[in-house]
Amino acid sequence: MKTDKLILIFMSCMLIFTFSISNDNNTTQVEITKEMEQKYPIKAHHSQIGLSCFDCHENQGNDPFKFKNIGDKGCISCHGDKKRVAKRLQYMDMLKANPHNSVHDGPTLYCDECHYEHKKSTNMCLECHEHEVPRWMGVTP
């Protein structure tokens, strides 16, 4: 009987320990529903590396419907600063057509002038260079 009690206490301790570990690893315990996925789809290149809502919307609570735009600071936390992004497309400078270092704005544009995460991106250059842009660059990711 005494052994049974001891085993019970031991098992309970183990259970509490396991839960405490899993809580440490994943502090945000919100299930991402199909509805959320459809309303706020994640771009292929982000979902391919297993990112979920909470990787961008850090410290924004547990209600995905109340999440706010992460702004340039959020994008830059992974993608490096704007000059670095411009440098990765430096080959486009051969024709002064680098969208991240254009003759008009240099590396100063807000990311969400063109790039959106949850809807189709736009290409601001197209507003004036309607015919040339398809010859310079592809679809805005």
């Binding site: 690893n25 391919q48 590396i49 297993g50 990112l51 990787d55 936390s77 992974c78 440098k87 990765r88 497309l89 430096q90 080959y91 486009m92 051969m94 024709l95 398809p134 010859r135 310079w136 660059m137 592809g138 679809v139």
Partner: protein, 224 residues
Amino acid sequence: MKKRIIFLIFVIGGVFGLVASLGVYYGLELTSDERFCVVCHEMDPMVIAYNDDVHSGKGKTGVRARCVDCHLPHDNIINYIYAKARNGVVEGYIHFFEDVENINWHENRARRKDFVFDDGCLHCHTNVFDNALLTDKAKKMHAHYKKLLNTKDEIGCASCHVEVGHMGLNNMLNYWDPKYPIYEDKAYEKKEELRRNYFKDSYVPSVKKSSKKDTNSSDENSSK
């Protein structure tokens, strides 16, 4: 008499074994850096970008990673030698018998995860999971990597570090294989300038690629 023969077999066997292992060791050593690989392996844009990267020894520490450190598996010696031998044969065949002027570098680069071996990266970057100097975002993403290990969603170092080891690779590949025909002439000039600087006396001009204007521009327009 019998004991002597056994002793001799051991000694001769030992000497043979030693010579053979030394041969294998030096063989592997001498064929592991970019000067050897570039002879047959079509990798001009990669090797030129590598020479601009901190992994080529340009950093403060001067530590230099060789091609094989990242691009061959390090889990066991048999896999390592097999992958090295297979790459040698395949790359040699491509160099001598295939249309090397028209390699689709961009398509190949999209599969970067397949030819970057994380055990190679982690062999040097041993503290990526507990380095206190990393930014919070980096710590979080490395924990994310660790969490996905051995699952169907597993990612590799190169999944996020898209130009690792080859600074400016995206630009370099666009000089070699411009995604848009409008860049072709200038890209060719830039490519030859880079090759001239890298190969110096052994520089041989490359054949200018035929224009892909017809196919590409129609693709672009239809995708818009």
